[in-house]
């Protein structure tokens, strides 16, 4: 691997990210899968970085899941999106930040489509007016939440309490980065670093002292694939995709995986459990899995948040080995205690996955 070669490509795909005043929209499924992530994002950006991030309870889903499951037509999706944009404009923002990769891809797709077919945009404007009596303005900047963390990666590094380094060996942690398919595969120019070697997560890892490993199936989908998962008959297919990725990354012995998409961490985390329990195969050290973290969680760890406040207990794959490597203090007792110390229940012990 020739690092300079990658740098050349990264140089070709730089994207402009505004400095402040962001309109933030959440992801449907992250809120339930890894609820602490978005909270952490807001806390970091608002309180640690002192940025103006506005969010409104009036925003809805972007419709992406329905759209990608072929259950609603494109115009409907576009109208939903137009409404979100209207909300942004109404609140006086022009930098649109979304927490979800599916949404990000869909927003890009929509804006590109409107650029190609202005008449369609006009039609949507009309739809929105008919339905909600709202008018919308297209965002000046459309960015994904991970782009923001990327932008402030060095500031975060400055405030870092922990580094992505194995405190016992002093070696940088080996990190696998997994980018949501819809981040830049559709529009390479819209993602930091393009589609082949996206830099958005790599940048964070490098800034925080870790080392990225490129494994053959790094481009491969996590296996979510919407209807591939929703329909039980297809779940084997979803599982096999994830399996393929882990088989491919195994020889590189990564310490953890960092992701920037709602579905990916969920599936790469839960499918490790399914693979272990149904085939007996585990990919981490001595029977453990490979922890799969969101970029907010990683940022949080680096900045010294308590692992349980970051919601790491909601992961199927135990994060303790990673915390130990990073030399992060944690209280095992508190793992399954929610706010005010009340028990949030524990998962069934696994037969194969430690």
């Amino acid at each position: 691997m020739i690092y300079e070669g990658k740098q050349k490509i990264w140089a070709d795909y730089q994207k402009e990210i505004p400095d402040d005043h962001y309109f933030y929209v959440r992801s449907c499924i992250r809120q339930s899968f890894f609820p602490a992530s978005e909270a952490t994002f807001l806390d970091i950006t608002r309180n640690r970085l002192g940025k103006d991030i506005f969010e409104t309870e009036h925003h809805t889903t972007c419709g992406g899941i329905a759209y990608h499951s072929d259950t609603i037509p494109q115009e409907t999706v576009m109208t939903i999106i137009a409404r979100q944009f209207a909300l942004m404009a109404k609140n006086g923002y022009e930098n649109y930040v979304c927490s979800c990769i599916t949404s990000f891809g869909l927003y890009c797709e929509t804006m590109e489509t409107w650029r190609e077919f202005p008449e369609l945009e006009a039609k949507i404007r009309e739809n929105l007016w008919k339905t909600c009596k709202l008018d919308f303005a297209k965002p000046k900047y459309l960015i994904h939440a991970s782009d923001l963390i990327y932008k402030y990666r060095n500031l975060i590094a400055k405030q870092a309490v922990h580094k992505l380094v194995n405190v016992h060996t002093g070696q940088p942690l080996k990190v696998v980065e997994h980018i949501g398919c819809h981040y830049s595969k559709m529009f390479p120019s819209k993602g930091v670093g393009g589609a082949e070697y996206p830099y958005v997560l790599v940048g964070m890892i490098e800034a925080w002292g870790g080392e990225i490993v490129d494994y053959p199936e790094r481009r491969h989908c996590c296996g979510f694939g919407f209807r591939q998962y929703f329909i039980k008959g297809n779940r084997g297919y979803s599982l096999s995709n994830t399996h393929k990725k882990f088989e491919s990354m195994e020889p590189f012995h990564p310490d953890f995986i960092i992701t920037n998409c709602p579905g990916c961490p969920y599936f790469m985390d839960r499918w490790q459990y399914v693979i272990a329990e149904s085939t007996g195969k585990t990919y981490g050290q001595d029977g453990h899995g490979i922890p799969v973290l969101t970029y907010e969680e990683v940022a949080g760890l680096v900045m010294g948040y308590d692992p349980w406040d970051l919601g790491l207990q909601t992961h199927q794959v135990g994060v303790e080995p990673l915390l130990d490597k990073m030399g992060i203090e944690y209280d095992p007792e508190k793992k399954y205690q929610g706010k005010g110390g009340k028990d949030i229940g524990r998962p069934e012990p696994c037969a194969c996955l430690k």
Partner: protein, 351 residues
Amino acid sequence: MKNNVLIVGGGPAGLEASSQLQRLGYNVILIERSTALGGHLAKWDRLFPSGVSARETLKSLMGHIEGVKYFTDTEVQSINRLEKSYNVILSNGITVLADAVLMTTGFDLFKASRKEEYGYGIYNRVITNADLEAYFRNGSDPRIDNPKRIGFVHCVGSRDEKAGCRSCSKVCCATAVKQAMEMKQAFPDADVFCFYMDLRLFGRHYEDMYLSAQRDYGIRFIRGRVAEVAENADGSLQVKAEDTVASKPLKASLDLLVLMAGMRPSVSGRRVGDLLEMPVEEDGYFSVKEGIVSGQKSPHPGIFLAGAATGPKTLPDTLADARAAAVMIDQYLSDVFPEAKHYKNLVRELW
């Protein structure tokens, strides 16, 4: 008086045209942007289908240009049309009053790094056809370390609209088959795979070359374009393609991957073209006046084209094109400058 003919580009086409025009009794000025004459031919080792030495071929081309004034490291600075001829100022300060200009600006090799998924410049063991020729010429390349499994990817930057080139580069298939056989000669116990979309080998002896590659060298031809390359933990490459004959996706680990970079219009040639406001077609190559009928005439009087400047050509095509251009220029000048005729006859008697 002698007519001046300016030839822009010292590749095979330029060399052949200048020697022809010289013999026809013209005063030929040949300019070459780089430090040496010969163009891409100077960088190649052996030529398909018979495997003759590029060095020798170039030498014999150079052998015929005595008397031709040529300047290397020289570009066209400005050029403007006078009533009958062109006033050209060269970067070395010389001004030429050219009665005819022949554009033999040739082609650039496609920048393989632009096909990011192939990882040229990122993976240690991915090289291009040009790199391989260089290896054959001077026998060493750190990336080529006794490979056991070698892959050739045809159509890199050819027949690929996203890479900015819809058309076929014409020479890559034959080159790939030639280089595959050469690699097999160099590493007899290696497995060699050629990933092709269509095998476009149509010239004389090309089919024999293909048959021999299969029968005598055991080279495996896989119909399907490599779509993804990655590096394994041990540094070997993992390539993915579809075997479209078996209609199944395919995976292979290789020790060396050779990208058959195609032909793109010469950028510097294009620059000169812009000075002359020469029209180019969608594919970026110069357009000719009446298509088939006068393949070497540009839409501007007194400006002619030969070789890859008007699209991908094999070496024999290029040389034939250059000779044709010489004849056309001769006709043109004889019509425009009838008075120079008797002098030319004088010169021709010398030959």
